[in-house]
Symmetry: C2
Subunit: 381 residues, 2 copies
C-alpha cells in the first residue's frame, strides 16, 4: 500500500425531503447571501425551484440567480457567475442540478476569490488558495461531484475540456434526495451508470498496486450500479434502488477507492473529454465508446487485474469475456459502444487524438498516451 492522505470534509444530507432544509443548512453555516446556480429550467417545471426558494426565504437567505448551465458546462457561464458573485458580495454558491451544475458552481467558487482568469487554475498556471463555500442539491447522480473537489469545464474558445481539483471546492454540504433523481431519462441513467463504472475502473486497472480491499470496494460499487441500473430501467420509481445507486456513485469518486493504490490515471476520461469538447457528446455516452476500446488496448499491461474483473463482475475466468460482457452490458442499457453510433467517422479520429494528446500533456500522461497510441485505441472503437 502506498502512502496517502484521505480528507473529505463534505457533509452529506441524504434522503427524502432534505432539500427543504437547504436554507437552514446555509444559515447554520453563517451564510446570508448565495448565488443560486442551476441548469436549463427543469427544476422550475418539477417544483424543486419553488421548494428551494421557500426554504431560502424561510431562513432569510438572500439570493441572486444564474441559470443556463448545460451538460459539459462552459467557461463563459463560469465567468458570468464569477462576475455576478464579485459584484454582489455573494458568500456561497448553491448548485441545484446535476454534476455539470455542481462543477460550474465549484469553478465559480474558486474564481470569485481570485483576481486573475479562472482558466489559470485549469492549465496549472495558478493554484486555488481560497474559494467561496459550495452547497449542492443534486438532481442527478453520476459524477460524485457532490462529494469531491473536482470540476470539469469546457473552454469554448480553445475547445479544451480541462479539470481542477482542490478540497477547497469540495461542497460544504450536499443534499442527496434520490426522489429528485427519479425523472432522469433512461438514456441519461445509462450514461450515468457508465460514468460511475468508469470512475471505478480507471484506478482499478491503471494503478501500480492493487490492495485487495480497494479492489473489493470497487467491485461492490460496480455490482451495485449494475444491479440498480437494471432495476431502475424497469421501474424508475424504485426508491431503494435509486438511493443505492446514488450512494454507490458517490463512493466511486470521493477518494475512497484510490486510497493507498498510488492513484493510477484516467485515460478513458482523458480521451472522452475530447469527444465532449469536439462533438458535444454526453460524457457517459463518450465513455461507453472509449472504455471497451481502451480495455482491449490495455489488458496486456495488467492481466491479473483484468482476470480478477472478469471473475468478480461476470463470474468468468477469461479476461476477454469480462471486456466483452461489459461492452454488451453497455449496449443492453442503451449506451453507444462505437464511434459510428456517435456519428463520428474515421476521418475524425486524427483530430480527436490531437486534442486528447493535448489533455495528456496537461495531465502529465503524454509519455503513456502519444497521439499514435490514442489513434490505436480509437481505431478499436
Amino acid at each position: 500500500m502506498n502512502n496517502f492522505t484521505y480528507y473529505n470534509p463534505t457533509k452529506i444530507e441524504f434522503g427524502k425531503e432534505k432539500e427543504n432544509n437547504i436554507g437552514e443548512y446555509l444559515a447554520q453555516a453563517g451564510i446570508k447571501k448565495v448565488l443560486l446556480h442551476y441548469g436549463t429550467g427543469s427544476i422550475k417545471k418539477n417544483g424543486l425551484y419553488e421548494k428551494i426558494i421557500i426554504s431560502l426565504n424561510k431562513s432569510n437567505i438572500e439570493f441572486k440567480e444564474l441559470s443556463g448551465v448545460v451538460s459539459n458546462p462552459l467557461l463563459s457561464k463560469v465567468n458570468e457567475g464569477i462576475s455576478l458573485s464579485k459584484e454582489n458580495n455573494i458568500e456561497a454558491i448553491l448548485a441545484v442540478g446535476g454534476g455539470s451544475v455542481a462543477d460550474s458552481a465549484k469553478a465559480i467558487a474558486a474564481g470569485a476569490k481570485y483576481d486573475g482568469d479562472v482558466w489559470d487554475f485549469f492549465i496549472n498556471k495558478a493554484e486555488i488558495l481560497e474559494a467561496l463555500p459550495v452547497f449542492t442539491v443534486m438532481t442527478l447522480s453520476a459524477t460524485a461531484s457532490e462529494m469531491n473537489g473536482n470540476s470539469v469545464i469546457i473552454n469554448e474558445n480553445t475547445k479544451q475540456k480541462y479539470s481542477i481539483a482542490s478540497v477547497l471546492i469540495n461542497p460544504l454540504i450536499s443534499v442527496i434526495n434520490p426522489e429528485l433523481m427519479a425523472t432522469v431519462s433512461k438514456e441519461y441513467l445509462a450514461y450515468s451508470a457508465v460514468d460511475v463504472i468508469s470512475h471505478c475502473i480507471e484506478v482499478y486497472f491503471t494503478a501500480s498496486t492493487h490492495p485487495n480491499f480497494n479492489s473489493a470496494i470497487v467491485e461492490s460499487i460496480i455490482k451495485t450500479i449494475m444491479q440498480t441500473t437494471e432495476i431502475l430501467l424497469e421501474n424508475p420509481n424504485d426508491y431503494d434502488a435509486r438511493a443505492e445507486f446514488a450512494w454507490a456513485a458517490i463512493q466511486g469518486l470521493n477518494g475512497l477507492t484510490p486510497a493507498g493504490t498510488e492513484g493510477g490515471n484516467f485515460p478513458n476520461h482523458m480521451i472522452e473529454h475530447s469527444l465532449s469538447a469536439l462533438y458535444n457528446v454526453a460524457h457517459g455516452a463518450g465513455l461507453a465508446v472509449v472504455i471497451p476500446a481502451w480495455m482491449k488496448y490495455y489488458k496486456e499491461q495488467n492481466q491479473a487485474q483484468f482476470k480478477r474483473f472478469a471473475k468478480e463482475i461476470f463470474n468468468s475466468d477469461d479476461a476477454d469475456v469480462g471486456i466483452e460482457k461489459l461492452e454488451s452490458w453497455f449496449s443492453k442499457i442503451g449506451a453507444p459502444t462505437t464511434l459510428k453510433e456517435l456519428n463520428i467517422t474515421r476521418d475524425g479520429i486524427k483530430e480527436l487524438a490531437t486534442n486528447a494528446n493535448a489533455t495528456a500533456n496537461v495531465w502529465g500522461m503524454s509519455e503513456l498516451y502519444s497521439k499514435e497510441t490514442i489513434i490505436e485505441i480509437l481505431e478499436k472503437a
Copy 2:
C-alpha cells in the same frame, strides 16, 4: 434506504514516516501548545516518543505530558488531563498510542471546554457543544477511534463503561503508519481483529434495512481483516497486510457501513462493556466470547442476513455453519470464546447481566435486552 447524515471531517495521513510530520500538521492548524497524551511507556522504548518530540520541537510546538493511559481507559486519568489542559491553556490534545489513548484524549478534549463534570456527557446529562481539537498518532489499529467521534471510558467509582459520540471530538488529523503497529503482540492482534469484526456485524445483523451495497462493504472489511490477520500472525512485518488491516479497520467504524441502514444497535458491545468494567477483560477478548453467544441467540431474528453472512464469508448455505466457523476462527487466531477461558464462573453471570442492563438503559436498548435476556445470552458463552 433510510435518511442519513454522513459527515467525517477527519484527515487521515496514512503511511510510512508520517509521524515525523506531526509538528508540522499541528503548526499548520495554528496550534502552539498541546497535551501529549500516551500510555504506559512503550512509545519510549520503541523510539516513537523521541520522534514525536523532535517533530514538535522542530515546529516550535510547546507541550505538557500526561502518560499512563491503560487499555479500558479510566475516568480518573481523563479528569487529570482536563485539569492539566485548563491550567496550562492547552490548545489541542495529541494522542500517541492505540484506541484507548485516542478515546481518553477525546474525553479530555470535550471536558477541557466544559465547566461541569465530564461524566455528564457519558450519562446523557449534558451535550458536547465545544471541544479542543484532537490529533492522533496511532500505534494500534482496531477501534477506528482515529476516524470517528466516539470515546469509551470506564468510571472506576461506579463500575460503568460508557461512551460519548460527537463529531466535535473527531480527530482533526490522524497519522496512521502501519510500521508503528508491527510490534503488537499476537494476542492483541487477534483481539483487534475481533473488535473490527464486531463493529461490522453489529449493524449488519441488527439494522432493520440491509442495502446490498452496505452489506457488500461490510463483507469486504471482514474478509480483509481475516485474510490480513492470518498473514500477520505468520509474518508480523508484512507491511501491506498491516496497512490493509489498518485501513479496513478504519472503514469498519467511521460512519460508512451504517449509512442508510437506520443504524441498528450494538448489543455485543453493550454486554462486553460489562466484562471489561467488572473483570478488566481486554475489549476484543470479551467480544470474542460474547459474539458467538449473541449470534446463536439472535439468529432467528434475521435469518436472511445470517444466511448471507455464512455464504459470503464462509461460502456455506447454512447460517449455523457461519456462526460456528466464526467461533472456530476466533479460537484459531487465539481469542477466547467462552466465559470459562476468562475465568468467569456461572455465579458471575447475574452481576454481569445487571451491569449490562444498566448500559442498555443508557443506550435506549432496555426493551430489547432485559436482564433475563442478557443472562440467556451469557449462558450460551
